[in-house]
Amino acid sequence: MTTPTPPGAHLPEHPDHLWTTAEPRKSYDVVIVGGGGHGLATAHYLAKNHGITNVAVLEKGWLAGGNMARNTTLIRSNYLWDESAGIYEHALRLWEGLEDDLGYPILFSQRGVLNLAHTEQDVRDSMRRVEANKLNGIDAEWLGPDEVAKVCPIVNVSADIRYPVQGATFQPRAGIAKHDYVAWGFARRADEAGIDIIEHCEVTGFATDGDRVTGVRTTRGDIAAGTVALCAAGHTSVLLDMLGVPAPLQSHPLQALVSELLEPVHPTIVMSNAVHVYVSQAHKGELVMGAGVDAPVGYGQRGAFHVIERQMAAAVELFPVFARAHLLRSWAGIVDVTPDASPIVGATPYDNVFLNCGWGTGGFKATPGLGWAFADTVAHGRPHPLVAPFGLDRFVTGALVDEHGAAAVAH
Amino acid sequence: MADLPVPTLPWAHPLESRRARLEDVSAVRQELSAPVAAVDLRLDPAGAGPAAVAAVVGGPLPERPDTWTALPAGLALRLGPDEWLLTSSRARPEDWEFGVDEAALAHGGSAVDVSAQRTSLRLRGQRARDLLASCCALDLRPASFPRGRCAQTLLGQSAVLLVAHDTDDLQLFVRTSFAGYVADLLVDAAHDF
């Protein structure tokens, strides 16, 4: 049998050393709860930007094994509102230099993202977002169906589908990266800086003294903390319940799936709201897709099958050539979603506890930007300007950052 | 309202344009049902209301949700705890609503004319249940869904009301605007029968 160029052979090797799982010490200046992308990035920037290294990252399972291991690795910054564009664009700029910063081949590939429009209202919303992006200095353009087909020839732009493609927004700088590599890159840097990465260490409670938290109780003993930074994504509510701090979060299963390895066929990233699809082709050749969020609250890390079926129908509808690609594996993460589909970052009623949650489906792409701004927030004890609009108080004042409405799919 | 002239305005079945395609399916006979007067009855099942309505419509109302009983010229389908669909092939819609509503009102209930809200297909044949099972997740085995049962459920992506007349004889009601989709779905499903 014939032997074309072997795929997968081109994946770079990992470093010989990543991190050493530490034993918890009695006390740290900063305890980061949650060893996912956000927690690790925050640790890295605490060390790098602020010289704070007496830090522990507590992970209840295996490091970066939550949403960081389960996402579809889309990176883009073409959000509608100024506040969102600010944090995501900051993240994207960091992504563009992250390989050097981390000294790790994270396979950041800027292949562009198409957000398809299928209805007249989709078109209006898309134009609105493109124009806002441009004024915010974010690369964005509107493409007609023919131009969509030029960027991604396998998209069915003909009129014979249920919701024909009317055009798309295109952000050329959007891309994908290898999620494990990213997490491990941050972990390795944090480890090198002397930060303790502690796995299989679940927070079971907090020790408090008035308006301050003095430490965390864990399955591996009590740990005193100068500052606590929560980066627990879907499990944030569990921690906040321990602190008695309410937050408008709902945790839902979000499923994703991959195909087998395929010859290159899909050069970019395509997202569609009306015909619910977001798909890219990863480095080894597998198609990576995200499905819709399951409606009920769920911590089970598995979703309902009809969501996958619907996802496949949408995929074949938009990409007829995918018909005989095979679903190889599906899985689910737990996404914490807020009423306005924007994150919650910033202060809590406790002076020295800072909150980072509610990223919904947008957490991965924000990783370095959030880590940067959250580390600054933790270091200075006040919200960094980039995350300031995302405080918990916006639900009281009504100053929401509503990414539901006109801002395309929030993935 | 009895002084209305006999209607002469032409009536069109929502599936008229698909009649030929439906009849072309050999495995399961699919007939367009004639129009009926239909009201959506809302009524407290506990009081004397059901009996009062029964007296007007000429037959007892079904006592359990998801079951139906025969009326002299139609069906009484129980859709929920306090909801029935009552049909008549004889009454004029406006009369049917007026009569049922009058009886129900006295017992705190009400009836709304929904004659044109739904249209109906009759499916007959040994494979009728199999055909439905290609796009409906409801347990349609004759033992689970015998004559006398009805159910509001999904056929493909459309809500439908299924009625079991017999093992080989089922009826489906579907909202008028979804009827074309449901018919296309069934015709397509029947290909491999």
Partner: protein, 921 residues
């Protein structure tokens, strides 16, 4: 040829021809691509993904990690296993080594679904499954039995004896008995691939490819099975022992060689070394010997099982206990096995058996916990899962006699016990160079890779999997997963039982996207909702737009007209004479009951209880957050009865929300809601001549302004059919809406058209409607609003009751952000050049005095929500949401359009007939 007479269940009376890498081969029905090639002494050969090493096949079914092929004919399909693709005439395939190729054209084959409900679903028609299915059927239960292979029988080779008869006869008897039961559905070639909650199992049936196309036959069908009880009899997967250069072609699982022999009559090698850690490989040794191969067994255990050793001795098969295989020799194919003591045993086939891993997948899918079985060297089901039963090899029960007993209970069939068997030895690998010990041949990952991962600080199986990529290939680690855990345990000095195996995820086997999509493609992807007038619109040449699931006529272009021209014409007709539009898609809800006024007062921002019977009022509904959710007209039909109209897209959401309030919050309110959206068909007749048209059609109606004022309704009759006419205007013109039961819609429409002919009545579509309403400053919910807009923002404070204590959303208006003077407000925007149509969605910036945008980020004032050419104004105009917009009326701002800054004047949102003289006239 390696085809052995007397073996195999292929149909030798017929031949099929397949083409592999351009070379035609003949085989027989019952063959797979792999068995055809092996029968021709061609060993499927691929190259490994990383090191370029030659690879053959090692399995005989889905467990094979290497024998990937690309189907080219009859239709390209990527990454299938040569061992599982049935050989059909005309099949063309080629080898691949890692990436498949998708077709460049759409797949025309049909895929569909079938739902099943049963008492018992049995997965696997091997001995365990057959017996369990039979027992259930005999108990009178309804049974669905699925099995992934072409024939039932599972691992039965035909050499066994069950209830005193040869196993094939037993299988045939059971199958025949099941076939006689109407409550039994038995599906072969059907793989259960996913198990979800409440006994929901998905199974893929392969119904056959055809070179001649599919016609109407479904190629693959997903069976969606809902079972009260799921019996998993899916067998076990044999795993090899990891040895140096154990990836060389000619190194095969013992069970695979046996399967190929008994199913396909193919003898995979002539000089065979069997290296085993357990008893099961002895059957393979003896069978291959009987088929003519020279066989030698090396058993890793200190003592060979006595019964098997005796049988081997009788047949002249040498057995060496306490012996291992360390590695292999050869190039493209194995030439010798190297034993633990360095001896090279020449051979052309090395069979490995490192024990059996129960096929745990379907239980793992529903969260079934696995526990490590020290004896088996594998994870088995720990705690029972409600409604799930695991039997046979899937449960770690390997001996046939035990399997039958476990599956059949008291009435189980009987098979002779294997005498003098010995327990397996758990052995993950033998001594050797870790860099040449392949754990996952599909990913080219070795023991050295695992060691490197451990050295990097990783100890969790999930981390090691990701570092090494073991178990991530298309086989998802069927044979390698357990080995990787065992070796990781060894390298980290921890017990295997302390390891958590990586979770099995659906699907059990790869499933084509199209099979999962089923028939949800094209028009069946999502329901197309149409009005009764749809056929008329089509005949009239309408262009349609999708609004939710509805198809709505957008405009009716005449020859040579583009949309702009058509819409200008339609608009002019409405403003100067009369137009007609199908408004049947509007949601309508019949609201009845003594408390209907109370409910509507709570749901609408304005007062509905004060509405008089016979009158109509426009209303706005908000969410608790105070933002506009929907709007529409409300007709008071009677003291206790209203007809509520919603927007097309929100009809279902509004009804659901109203029901939610009623059923869960205000349960004391005596109100009932009935959707009558599809019952009523609505024709909007608008324009100065609309009164003439309505008057002509409905002779019983006094349409004079005095008798039939604006925002009132009346019932009438047309040829015996009740009709409701309401004076409602969404265009600002004199206008009527005619509602009739939808079966009569076409007839009424025809009458209106006929009566309007004298006035040149013009059908108009949604685009025209949008222009007309925009000229009046009427917002479209969802276009001029986006979930962040309050009624006040829309300039509709007049529709927000100050009298009511409360209504949904009211409290939110006193939040700080709602009192922000810089909230965005709906205004009109007139490009000062009177020529540029501002693209909808354009952002608005402050006036840039130097005519140039500052550097980003540029502060934005708002955006254009609606923009049209106006026939009435003879210029383009727009609506926009602008920060503090009403205070900016008269200001000129800039709108960036394709690199140019277009100046535009902010004005009031009402541009045509601000006094409302026309609609009131």
């Amino acid at each position: 040829m390696s085809r052995v007479p007397g073996f195999g269940r292929i149909d030798r009376s017929r031949t099929v021809t397949i083409t592999v890498d351009g070379v035609p081969y003949t085989g027989h029905p019952g063959d797979t691509v792999a068995s055809v090639l092996l029968a021709h002494d061609v060993h499927p050969r691929t190259t490994s993904v990383k090191y370029g090493r030659p690879r053959g096949i090692t399995g005989a079914w889905t467990e094979d990690p290497t024998g990937l092929i690309q189907v080219e004919e009859p239709f390209p399909e990527p990454m299938l296993l040569a061992t599982t693709v049935e050989a059909t005439d005309g099949l063309v395939v080629r080898g691949v080594n890692g990436q498949g190729r998708l077709a460049e054209v759409a797949d025309t084959a049909r895929y569909d679904r079938r739902h099943h409900h049963c008492d018992v679903l049995v997965v696997g028609a091997g001995p365990a499954g057959l017996v369990a299915a039979r027992a259930a059927a005999r108990r009178g239960e309804s049974v669905v039995l699925v099995d992934d292979r072409a024939d039932p029988g599972g691992t039965l080779t035909g050499t066994e004896t069950i209830d005193g008869e040869p196993s094939p006869a037993f299988v045939a008897d059971v199958v025949a008995e099941l076939a006689d039961q109407p409550e039994v559905t038995h599906l072969q070639r059907t793989t259960a691939f996913g198990h979800y909650d409440d006994g929901f199992v998905l199974a893929l049936e392969r119904r056959g490819d055809s070179v001649d196309g599919y016609g109407l036959r479904t190629r693959q069908r997903v069976h969606r099975i809902r079972a009260s009880r799921v019996v998993v009899a899916a067998g076990a997967i044999e795993r090899p022992v990891v040895i140096e250069d154990g990836d060389r072609p000619g190194v095969v699982l013992a069970s695979a060689a046996r399967d190929l022999l008994h199913r396909h009559g193919v003898l995979v090698g002539r000089e065979v070394v069997v290296f085993t850690t357990n008893d099961s490989a002895y059957a393979a040794a003896l069978d291959l010997h009987e088929a003519g191969a020279g066989v030698r067994v090396l058993d890793a255990r200190d003592e060979a099982p006595r019964g098997w050793a005796r049988a081997c001795a009788e047949r002249g098969v040498a057995v060496t206990p306490a012996a291992t295989v360390r590695g292999t020799r050869g190039e493209e194919r194995i030439t010798a096995a190297v034993t633990g003591d360095g001896t090279e045993i020449p051979c052309d086939l090395l069979l490995l058996s490192g024990g059996w891993t129960p096929a745990a997948h379907l239980v793992s899918h529903v969260g079934g916990a696995l526990t490590y079985d020290e004896t088996l060297g594998a994870f088995v089901f720990g705690e029972p899962v409600a409604g799930v039963e695991v039997i046979g090899a899937a449960n770690g029960t390997l001996a046939l006699a035990d399997v039958l007993r476990e599956a059949g209970g008291a009435g189980a069939p009987h098979a002779p016990a294997e005498d003098d068997g010995a327990p397996p030895r758990v052995l993950w690998r033998t001594e050797g160079d870790p860099a040449r010990q392949f754990v996952d041949v599909a990913r080219d990952a070795t023991v050295a890779d695992i060691a490197r991962a451990v050295g990097a600080g990783l100890t969790h199986p999930e981390h090691v999997k990701r570092y090494t990529t073991i178990g991530t290939a298309h086989d998802q680690g069927r044979t390698s997963g357990m080995l990787a855990i065992g070796i990781l345990a060894e390298l980290t000095g921890r017990p295997v039982a302390a390891m958590r195996p990586t979770t099995f995820r659906p699907p059990f086997v790869p499933v084509a996207f199209a099979a999962l999509a089923g028939r949800e493609r094209g028009d069946l992807f999502d329901p197309v909702r149409t009005t009764p007038l749809h056929a008329w619109h089509v005949a009239a040449g309408a262009e349609f737009e999708d609004v939710g699931q509805w198809k709505r006529a957008r405009h009716y272009p005449r020859a040579g007209e583009d949309m702009t021209a058509a819409v200008l014409r339609e608009c002019a007709a409405v403003r100067t004479s009369v137009g007609i539009m199908d408004a049947s898609t509007l949601g309508t809800i019949d609201v009845r009951g003594p408390d209907a006024p109370v409910l509507l007062d709570r749901l609408y921002t304005n007062m509905m209880s004060s509405l008089k019977v016979g009158r109509v009022r426009y209303g706005v509904m908000c969410g608790n957050d105070g933002m506009v959710r929907d709007d529409g007209t409300v007709l008071r039909l009677a003291e206790n009865r209203y007809l509520v109209t919603t927007t097309t897209g929100n009809a279902a959401a509004v009804l659901d929300s109203m029901e939610e309030w009623l059923q869960t919050e205000w349960t004391d309110l005596r109100v009932r809601l009935t959707s009558v959206t599809d019952h009523w068909s609505i024709a909007a007749v608008a324009g100065p001549r609309s009164r003439d048209v309505i008057g002509a059609v409905f002779g019983d109606l006094d349409v004079s302004n005095d008798a039939f004022g604006f925002m009132t309704w009346q019932d009438t009759v047309l040829d015996g059919t009740p009709v409701r006419v309401a004076r409602i205007s969404f265009s600002g013109e004199l206008a009527f809406e005619v509602s009739v039961a939808s079966g009569y819609a076409s007839a009424v429409w025809a009458r209106l058209l006929a009566a309007g002919q004298a006035y040149g009545i013009t059908p108009y579509g949604t685009e025209t409607m949008h222009v007309l309403r925009a000229e009046k400053g009427y917002p479209i919910i969802g276009q001029d609003t986006d979930g962040t807009v309050s009624p006040h923002d829309l300039g509709m404070s007049w529709a927000v009751s100050a009298k009511k204590d409360d209504f949904v959303g009211k409290r939110s208006y006193t939040r700080p952000e709602n009192r922000n003077p810089l909230r965005k407000q709906l205004v009109s925007l007139l490009p000062t050049d009177a020529a540029t149509k501002l693209p909808e969605g354009s952002q608005i910036v402050g006036f840039c005095a130097d005519g140039r945008l500052p550097a980003p980020p540029v502060p934005m004032l708002g955006h254009v929500t609606s923009s049209y050419h106006s026939a009435e104004l003879a210029r383009p105009f727009a609506l926009a949401l602008v920060k503090g917009g009403r205070d900016r009326v008269g200001e000129v701002v800039h709108v960036p359009v394709e690199g140019e800054l277009v100046p535009a004047l902010i004005g009031s949102s009402v541009l045509v007939d601000p006094e409302g003289a026309r609609r009131d006239g």
